[in-house]
């Protein structure tokens, strides 16, 4: 190699390294600005008063987001209850029962389901699910139940694809050994395959949780956005994401800082969930 080519290669490597560092820089910027805007209020009002405060009335000095933290978790739990079993069984079906044709039909269908924007889900939820809940069960329809149903459908693709990966990575001989000992296919699945794929499936569920907690548009259209902790699944509720989205464009001063504080809490919760899930998946891969 000539000197010129060497210098050129050095330069290119440097440029590429700078590009690679950009991800870290962006991550830093995002955390920095959200924290810069969100932390001061924790100082001013007190961490306890914000995270455990029950009243959100930012123009009057109350910044309690506890009801929203609870509501976010309730809605996520509901979404898992609805989407989890359905997703898991779909994944089992895809890997153990379906033929090539069904696979060719289901996989694109799932990709499509994942690609539908959340505002469309929210819209359809308002037009169809909310009246359904209202007419069959009561309340205004804008409720924990309706939100859980829509979110459950929205996280299906995530749960299905990760569970599918986990299940298919269970070695073939596990299954063959079980069948050889006289177990039926179903017995093999629930006694051997699923327990082996447990950590991957859990990771899928946790990632699904992360998605549900972070969902914004569909939730503000369906959940009703009331500020109290819901006492029944038919009550309206407000999530952390909803709080931010509803008031961001209106807020100034302390009110705006309060929304960033909400963002800080949200960020902490989601990043924790993501790290737990990724750790689980990596552990599975290392096995």
């Amino acid at each position: 190699m000539t000197v010129i080519t060497f210098k050129k290669e050095q330069f290119i490597k440097f440029v590429l390294m700078a590009f690679a560092l950009s991800s870290l820089i962006f991550l830093f910027l995002i955390f920095a600005f959200i924290l810069i805007e969100g932390l001061p209020l924790f100082h001013k009002i007190g961490l306890k008063n914000i995270i455990f405060g029950f009243k959100w009335a930012p123009t009057k000095g109350s910044f309690g987001i506890f009801p929203m933290i609870v509501s976010s978790f309730l809605v996520t739990f509901g979404a898992l209850v609805i989407g989890g079993p359905m997703g898991l069984s779909c994944a089992v079906y895809l890997s153990e029962y379906s033929g090539k044709k069904m696979k060719m039909l289901l996989k694109p269908a799932l990709e499509l389901l994942a690609g539908i924007p959340s505002v469309v889900y929210g819209f359809l939820g308002v037009i169809y699910i909310v009246p359904l809940v209202r007419n069959c069960l009561g309340g205004s329809g804008f409720s924990l139940l309706a939100t859980a149903i829509i979110l459950g459908i929205m996280i299906l693709p995530t749960i299905i694809s990760i569970s599918f990966d986990a299940i298919t990575s269970v070695p073939k001989n596990f299954r063959e050994g079980s069948l050889a000992m006289g177990a039926t296919k179903w017995q093999t699945i629930y006694k051997v395959v699923i327990p082996s794929a447990k950590s991957g499936i859990m990771a899928g569920f946790i990632l699904g949780m992360g998605r549900a907690i972070g969902e914004t548009m569909a939730v503000i259209m369906i959940a009703g956005n009331a500020l109290k902790i819901p006492t029944s699944i038919l009550d309206p509720l407000r999530t952390l994401t909803g709080n931010i989205a509803l008031e961001l464009s209106y807020a100034t001063g302390d009110h705006r800082m309060g929304l960033f504080s909400t963002g800080v809490v949200l960020l902490v919760i989601i990043m924790t969930l993501n790290y737990i899930a990724n750790f689980g998946i990596k552990k599975k891969r290392l096995k």
Partner: protein
């Protein structure tokens, strides 16, 4: 394959450069357009949009950009000079009075219910009690045994501010009540849920929802002009100092007979 990728890439770059070089001109290369930026109250916004549409028909060299954001945001944007005109659906607070406020019209706030709901009149106290959580069931008001689905606007909304000031007085709005972030979405909730009640801009009442009389006075433009229906708030255009000629021409249009006619048609109370 690499060739096609290269071509796509160059295409993207060209489009990018085209956009950047466009500057503030229009895409047909018409040359100098004058842009007015207006932002603020979500209540005032649709009417400003309508006025802008008419104005731009007669003045094709104007481009009027209307953003929402809420009354408070409109005030802030005006103070920071990031917009030409700020829109507000509530009166200015003391520390905001450095801005000039022009009342373009008045707007009534009506309590509204679904057409199927047989109730036609409520007292102020009853409305207060509904929104403050003391009255929870329609049977307490003479209808069927069913929970009231009340809906309010979010904190920071000018409409909510006016509602709290003029009707709620010192009572607080209950935490368990649903919140929506615009007049339109409140209207949607009321129009689709027979057991709902909310408050919206008078101009939005139509056959899909029913306005309630308060203390026997029905929410109509006549009653407001006669001073009988008192739940009224001004729609304000805010400027920071004297506006330039171009901006002023739009404001003049809004205050003119034609502009006021448009607002009147929309159900607002003109100020002529």
């Amino acid at each position: 394959m690499k060739q096609t990728a290269r071509i796509f890439y160059i295409l993207f770059l060209l489009i990018g450069m085209l956009t950047i070089s466009c500057g503030r001109g229009s895409i047909e290369g018409k040359g100098n357009n004058f842009t007015i930026t207006i932002a603020g109250s979500t209540s005032v916004m649709p009417f400003t949009e309508k006025l802008a549409e008419y104005f731009m028909l007669d003045h094709p060299d104007f481009v009027i950009n209307v953003q929402s954001g809420g009354s408070t945001a409109g005030v802030q944007a005006c103070i920071n000079k990031t917009v030409d005109i700020g829109m507000s659906s509530r009166n200015l607070k003391d520390d905001e009075k450095i801005l000039d406020a022009i009342t373009i019209c008045n707007d009534g706030i009506a309590a509204a219910i679904h057409p199927k709901n047989p109730i036609t009149n409520l007292t102020m106290q009853q409305i207060r009690d509904i929104f403050n959580g003391r009255i929870k069931n329609w049977k307490e008001l003479g209808w069927i045994d069913r929970k009231i689905d009340a809906v309010t606007r979010e904190e920071g909304s000018g409409t909510r501010g006016a509602f709290e000031e003029l009707i709620m007085e010192k009572n607080e709005i209950d935490d368990g009540i649903m919140v929506q972030d615009s007049n339109g979405s409140v209207k949607e909730v009321i129009a689709t849920d027979p057991y709902a009640i909310g408050y919206i801009s008078l101009g939005l009442l139509d056959e899909r929802i029913k306005g309630l009389s308060i203390e026997g006075i029905s929410p109509t433009v006549e009653n407001i002009k006669a001073g009988k229906y008192m739940i009224v708030r001004p729609f304000l255009y805010l400027t920071n100092g004297k506006p330039g000629d171009k901006v002023q021409s739009f404001i003049d249009f809004v205050l003119s007979k034609d502009g006021q006619k448009i607002l009147k048609k929309e159900g607002l109370i003109d100020i002529l």
